[in-house]
Symmetry: D2
């Protein structure tokens, strides 16, 4: 990535209800971690057959203090059968363990978070780096090798960043005076 490329900040989640989580989750609270979001609909065959299993595998393979995995139920069709009550039964039956947010219904059928991210459908795989920048936003089936590579790349940036921060600290910078540039 070019040092002068402007990265978009990942829009905050607009969630009406969280399942598998006692507390509401904000992206802001996850700064310092790589965040993987599986946007899905419970009646979407591709989500059921590969998107959600892939998310579960990610959650089992990476340390939770470095990589946070969550689901986002982005219902943009068949609203009636995909209510939170239905989702709850689905989560139970499919043994999903990671936190899942219900995307806030929006005008025109498209829920608000989905619209803010300009997702094109489900499943969509979202990755956010440790500084909160939106780095991956892909629809459809993404090969496991690429998914693993992308997560590790973001993790490595974080490590590199720490090293860099320390050096900058050594140079006498402080948090106000040396803001991390948008392009990191």
């Amino acid at each position: 990535m070019s040092p002068h490329q402007k990265l978009p900040i990942a829009p905050e989640l607009q969630v009406t209800q969280w399942l598998n989580s006692k507390e509401p989750i904000t992206l802001k609270s996850l700064r310092g971690k790589v965040v993987v979001i599986e946007a899905f609909q419970m009646l979407c065959p591709g989500c059921v057959s590969h998107g959600l299993p892939q998310a579960q595998k990610i959650a089992s393979l990476f340390p939770p203090d470095k990589v946070t995995v969550m689901g986002l139920h982005t219902v943009f069709e068949h609203h009636e059968p995909m209510t939170p009550v239905s989702l709850k039964a689905f989560i139970h039956e499919y043994r999903l363990k990671f936190p899942i947010g219900v995307d806030e219904p929006g005008a025109g059928g498209m829920p608000n978070t989905m619209a803010a991210y300009q997702m094109r459908g489900t499943p969509s795989l979202i990755m956010i780096d440790q500084k909160g920048f939106l780095r991956v936003n892909l629809i459809g089936h993404v090969h496991d090798i690429l998914v693993g590579a992308k997560i590790a790349t973001l993790l490595a940036e974080a490590d590199s960043l720490k090293l860099q921060d320390k050096r900058e600290d050594n140079d006498g910078g402080d948090e106000n005076g040396c803001p991390v540039p948008d392009n990191v």
Copy 2:
């Protein structure tokens, strides 16, 4: 099968609503065909991953005038999210083309047809021979080779039966006087 074994007549379906079919379907109307019924719940992972795809494959491989394939939505848990409205969206998303009946809700959570067949869960694979006898009633994943073998066995019985009937006719029997025994 021993010639003296008594086969059970397959209980008639108790269905409140049919999808993918303009007319209600009765087992009685299907005499002369082998009937394959996939009993499922739309939120049952095993039904989604192998039971229903297997049923679709059966429907595509055997001639419809000899083998009838249908689904039966036997909801015995999570009743709220598995209503006919939800089922309709599910059928649309999973591109299911064969007729699907909604099993009539019964006392105690178990729907009536499911109870009459003493099914033990979903997916359950039911096969009924051309004379209306219940011949297969299995829960879980049944290997494709066995499924193919069982259907062909029932089809062959039908052929054999026709041959036999003809011979009996030649011997002077009539339909009233020479009823086909229960055990065929």
Copy 3:
């Protein structure tokens, strides 16, 4: 099948060596059984990924006194690396348990049994009925449901035949005087 259709007798196997069998095997000795032959080459990817696993599954699902499964190593290319010595290591590594015959090398690269059956490549799936007639000769991937159906159809013919034979016996026929017609 029309009663007047003429079925070909399955040509006898021309095998130079048997593995997984102490005795040479002839088709003639298998009359009364349904015979399934998986013709393969050990370096043929389709044989390794689905042909041979399917043959092993057949061998595990049907009773050996009714269905005989065997392999036939029909090498028509890469002769040097697919010698019996190589085949033996292959059988060991892939844990193949059914008898496997080495098809006799013929003129022009094509081995003799393969040529006699006019097989078009590997994997080829051969089925022979209990009377020794060649009934199935298919190249490539055959769906498990169809394979199961075909075996069961041949098994059912056998059952039907026994019934028929008995009746003919009752009518006073004898084995010489009442030969089973070619078309059964």
Copy 4:
């Protein structure tokens, strides 16, 4: 990785013959790239079903100027059927496109490169970083997500290294005076 951990230099390949490559390949010539080596035997079922397909997928997903993928035929059993002639036919049939080296036969059945790497069997997945250090040496099935993550981690180290080198240059270091430590 701790900065004080001592990494082993990957032993040079001992290869008698290269397939899919006009020139012999040395690890030394690949400095600056991440090197992925799939050690396999052509008659090893796990190599055929997942090790080699994974290697092919890696080769197709990462840019060849950054990641080099090669095979190593490490025959430690069934030597007779796994000669270079057999391997050549195997490569042809399985459409393998990356360079494959034949590991030099050694004393006691174990080939020399395999012994030098202390591999425990096949398939073994080897990864070497851009400085020539051995970083991954795993036997068996490694999940695609982990494989992707590991390659990306090594790629990121390379990028980080370049950055670091530049900074060190800025600090007045020169290549002789500021050698990159073994543990990078």
